[in-house]
Symmetry: C2
């Protein structure tokens, strides 16, 4: 296990989602000591939600001394300034200086990062990535995101935007989706992409889970849709391996609910696109921490 | 400038190429104190070449105390074991334990890395990247390679293969070239790719420089070939920016001989493929150290 030199110092993790907020007291190895969660009630606006978060932190912290508070939240956000910009999942939030508002209440450092980075850190330090030098965490749900952890630390990038792999072009001139590049990874391999192709080609309005179900039942066109998405996902993973050569790739997100079905396919296709010298070393594992990854990773954010 | 804490400690850099070998005494900031070079005479075999390198090191080192010796060489190689595997540019070299053979002669650590990584380190620490936190160095010549430097250190990867961007798939089902993926970046955007398309579409056997010359002279099909290659290169760079969000991208290699012609095109096209929030921050600069990058970077390899 990576030694973060503060295994006995506690911290607070806040996983702020559009639907739920989860707050936990955790130790430096990512073990949850105590945890509470509630509905975010994002529609009540930032003032209400932040007051609620502060109350919950007090409750979880109780009489414990903590070294800091980490918050994982949906992007876009500015991790260096600690400001939530205008995430689609937190409507009405517009340039909210979240860390300074929380810091005012507690005399400890408060750190903000996006939810994919928080989950990446959690999986690297106390999940599937325990013992590995570098971890590339990829989440495939309605969107596709990533976090890169090297030697127990997140690779953030100059503007804090490293890991925005959903916008990598994988099929020039391919499908357009929201504000992404034509043929971007997220536009050809995400749950949204699978649902879009399904609804277009299966003669019925269907979501990604529906397409997976039909494919598992042997529906040929549904199988083809999943196969295409997994091919593009494998190309994306192979590209990232050629760039970063991580010790381990961890796959999380909603699409991994079908992991027994798709993980062998992803491993086989990714291998095919790697330099032969790298093929024997390919390691793709499913995320281990499930819905707790966000709050654990948030708690690991403070140095 | 990044402080490497050994600004006054000297080291030896060895740039071992298929044609020339260049050896220099340099300080911790990458300044060359003294330098010699000679033909590699690779056809004389590794024993001869290594004996020659040892003689040259002694000559350059003279009475100076050095903290280590760094060697940049063509891949494939194993940087962790210090072994040259079987590079096409050093024929007859097959699993040569280069660092241990040199270490035997000098009582200092000897470090081996590939030439793209050495050049990346040089540009990051004492070239175009001075003052930047993270640098993505990309070399476009007959091949395409990269080196990633974060906080003054190379991102190596688990097997030492980070930066193998030439094999990233950029055009699924596209042209095949040597052992690369179909439609790999190197197969659609390298000097080799430009020469291949030129020879196929211009009605005459032509190299990359020839296609560039024809394009500069206004030949429409040659312009189209360059434009296609630069489009794929820009997609590759944009993809890498979305993954790494580096402070700076540095472009080097033979294709940059036409930098006045292509750099504005590459900047414009890359911008087009970035998230709007990242566009204002795009920084692509030409490499500064020219043919000295390899030997300077080699000298910066020892910690």
């Amino acid at each position: 296990m990576i030694d973060r030199n503060h295994g006995t110092l506690l911290s607070i993790g806040v996983d702020l989602g559009g639907t739920n907020v989860r707050i936990a007291l955790i130790d430096g190895n990512g073990t949850i000591i105590r945890e509470i969660h509630a509905k975010t009630e994002a529609n009540q606006g930032p003032d209400y939600v932040i007051a609620h978060i502060i109350e919950m932190i007090k409750q979880v912290k109780s009489e414990h001394t903590i070294r800091g508070i980490g918050i994982g939240a949906p992007g876009p956000l500015d991790p260096f300034k600690g400001v939530i910009l205008d995430p689609p999942n937190l409507s009405g939030w517009n340039h909210v200086p979240l860390t300074s508002l929380i810091e005012r209440e507690f005399a400890v450092p408060v750190v903000l990062n996006n939810d994919a980075n928080a989950a990446a850190l959690a999986e690297a330090i106390s999940g599937a990535g325990i013992g590995y030098k570098s971890v590339l965490y990829i989440t495939v749900s309605t969107g596709i995101g990533a976090g890169i952890v090297v030697d127990g630390k997140l690779v953030m990038g100059e503007q804090g935007n490293a890991g925005e792999i959903g916008n990598m072009i994988i099929l020039p001139g391919g499908p357009k989706q929201s504000n992404l590049n034509a043929g971007a990874l997220e536009a050809v391999a995400s749950g949204t992409a699978i649902a879009r192709e399904g609804s277009k080609r299966l003669g019925t309005e269907v979501d990604a889970a529906g397409v997976f179900q039909m494919a598992k039942n042997g529906h040929k066109e549904a199988e083809k849709i999943i196969d295409e998405a997994m091919t593009y996902l494998a190309m994306g993973i192979a590209n990232l391996i050629h760039v970063l050569n991580p010790s381990l790739v961890v796959l999380g997100g909603g699409v991994m609910k079908s992991k027994e079905f798709i993980l062998p396919i992803i491993r086989e296709k990714t291998t095919e696109y790697l330099y032969p010298s790298l093929q024997p070393f390919l390691k793709i594992e499913p995320a281990k921490l499930g819905t707790k990854a966000g709050v654990i990773g948030a708690g690991l954010l403070p140095e």
